[in-house]
């Protein structure tokens, strides 16, 4: 019997299609041959899984059909949210917005009318003078009150704007607070902050290239103190196949170390701007540096196509050089300089990581 026939017999056995004597024979074979026995167990599980899959898929299909049928025949009221349901839905969704809008409108209305009254009140008629001045005082009080209220509203609004969400990772390329990250991390951000053990700073985008997926940020926070030097180098070298690499990034609220190897010289769909690396990564790793054993940055991790299989793509380090060339066309960025000599070459990995981690930031956006 070849494998094909064996599996066929196993399937007929599982489905109960064997005749009694054939079945007896097969059961004996199963008892004496552990490989066959294992195959039966494994294949039973597999067919069960396949069956579940098929059942659920056809159930989903049926449910969708029924949904459409029942909606068309009017037995359920769906799709078009009508009447009360729609009002409730919209009200629920926009409750908060409506409340804020209403209070702002209210305050504005009061302020304007207060202003109008106080201006009109400045030309009093003789007899009514005292009453009017009294009224003006009252109005002044009221407008003061609304003013402070408005201020309160304003501060709560600006405060709520400052709730950032973690977007990715960035790393320092110049001591004065220039960082590199992925363009897609900051592309739709209105505010950017970067954070690590050293502190939490506001930053702005000074350069963005969506095609290469590179962005350069500058820390613009007055609390930021420039670094004296950068431990790692930025390399134009695109790395060797199978070369060991490591990365540090913020896939979560904590800096996370990962190591792997360069697995292909081109990236997603043969993209020559990037390379493929085997390393555990997810979206928060976007913008993490890819370092080789000498402490040279050979790429920027691009988490956009990261998946669970364990490989990811990295943009070649030389793209940082070309991005910087572009940036320098603006005269105010003439002095930005990339470090090309690594000071952590030859150290062991724990020491390298210790020196590098202060230069890696979580990039937060809102």
């Amino acid at each position: 019997m070849n494998d094909n026939k064996i599996l066929d017999a196993v399937e007929r056995y599982i489905r109960g299609e064997m005749k009694p004597d054939e079945r007896l024979q097969f059961e004996n074979l199963r008892k004496t041959n552990s490989e066959i026995d294992e195959l039966v167990v494994e294949h039973t599980l597999f067919l069960q899984q396949l069956n579940h899959f098929g059942e659920r898929r056809s159930l989903r299909h049926t449910l969708n059909e029924i949904h459409v049928d029942l909606t068309e025949s009017g037995k359920i009221d769906s799709m078009k949210l009508k009447g009360k349901a729609k009002v409730v839905y919209i009200w629920n969704r926009y409750k908060r917005v409506t409340a804020i809008a209403a209070s702002i409108a209210g305050i504005t209305a009061i302020t304007i009318s207060a202003l109008l009254w106080s201006i009109a009140g400045k030309s009093p008629k003789n007899g009514d003078f005292e009453i009017l001045s009294d009224q003006i005082r009252k109005l002044e009080n009221r407008s003061n009150k609304t003013e402070t209220e408005l201020k309160n509203v304003k501060t709560t609004i600006t405060r709520s704007q400052n709730t950032y969400t973690a977007g990715g990772t960035g790393f320092v390329i110049d001591v004065k607070g220039y960082l590199v990250t992925n363009a897609h991390v900051v592309a739709s951000a209105s505010n950017i902050a970067v954070q690590n053990n050293r502190g939490d700073y506001v930053a702005t985008v000074v350069y963005i290239d969506r095609a290469k997926d590179i962005a350069i940020l500058k820390i613009v926070d007055e609390n930021f103190k420039p670094y004296t030097s950068i431990p790692y180098a930025i390399s134009k070298n695109s790395g060797q196949l199978a070369e060991n690499i490591f990365t540090l990034g913020y896939p979560r609220n904590e800096i996370v170390y990962g190591q792997g190897y360069l697995s292909a010289k081109t990236g997603y769909n043969g993209d020559t701007l990037s390379c493929q690396i085997d390393i555990a990564a997810n979206h928060g790793n976007s913008g993490s540096p890819i370092l080789n054993k000498n402490g040279e940055v050979i790429g920027i991790l691009n988490g956009r196509q990261a998946n669970t299989v364990g490989f990811a793509f990295a943009i070649h380090g030389k793209n940082i050089f070309s991005a910087l060339e572009d940036l320098k066309k603006d005269s105010s960025y003439q002095k930005v300089k990339l470090n090309t000599r690594s000071s952590i070459s030859g150290m062991d990995r724990t020491e390298q990581v210790k020196r590098v981690q202060d230069y890696i930031y979580m990039v937060k956006v809102n």
Partner: protein, 191 residues
């Protein structure tokens, strides 16, 4: 007919994928779930999603546990939909606690755990099948899911005879098993 018998028949019909039974349960319960979701910050699309997932939970429970429910269909559907929706709200950080219009909610944690396990397995099988490519994908689906016999399949896919089709099916099956089990065993060891 007593209402209890009626319910039981419906459930048996549902487990056997009888379209009439599915339709009846659908039309009896959909509006209830829809108003639950719309009153708790959801849209009509959310309602449809959640309701259909609830139906799948019910279906799988029946298939696994002998067609028995120890409460009314309505109560079970409401309890499951409510948990599923709360979970989705939490995932989107839009927590709101639904005011319980119906006080009787039953414990469905175990059913949902089993459901999540099945979800993961379903995704694995789906990925494995999609990774297979044609003609393997259609060939295996025709045989194992649509249960067509080998002669029909051979004619449909242009094989000269059923044995050739069988050979091809065998090769495809081995590939599918390999892809699926790699994923399956990884998934188990991650837990």
């Amino acid at each position: 007919m007593k209402p209890e018998n009626n319910e039981k028949e419906l459930l048996i019909g549902f487990a056997a994928s009888d379209r009439k039974a599915v339709e009846k349960i659908y039309s009896d319960n959909f509006n209830m779930v829809q108003s639950l979701i719309i009153n708790n910050n959801g849209s009509a699309d959310d309602a449809r999603d959640i309701f259909q997932e609830t139906m799948i939970v019910l279906f799988e429970k029946l298939r696994a546990g002998g067609f028995e429910l120890n409460c009314l269909i309505k109560t079970f559907v409401y309890s499951v939909a409510r948990r599923l929706w709360l979970k989705r709200l939490q995932q989107q950080n839009r927590y709101s606690s639904p005011g319980d219009s119906m006080a009787d909610v039953v414990q469905v944690e175990e059913d949902l755990e089993a459901h999540e396990q099945r979800n993961a397995e379903f995704d694995m099988m789906e990925r494995a099948i999609n990774n297979l490519g044609e003609p393997c994908k259609s060939l295996l689906e025709a045989y194992y899911l649509q249960k067509q016999n080998m002669q029909v399949i051979a004619a449909k896919f242009g094989y000269t005879n059923a044995d050739n089709a069988k050979n091809q099916k065998y090769k495809c099956l081995m590939r599918l098993k390999k892809i699926f089990f790699t994923d399956y065993k990884n998934g188990k060891s991650d837990e």
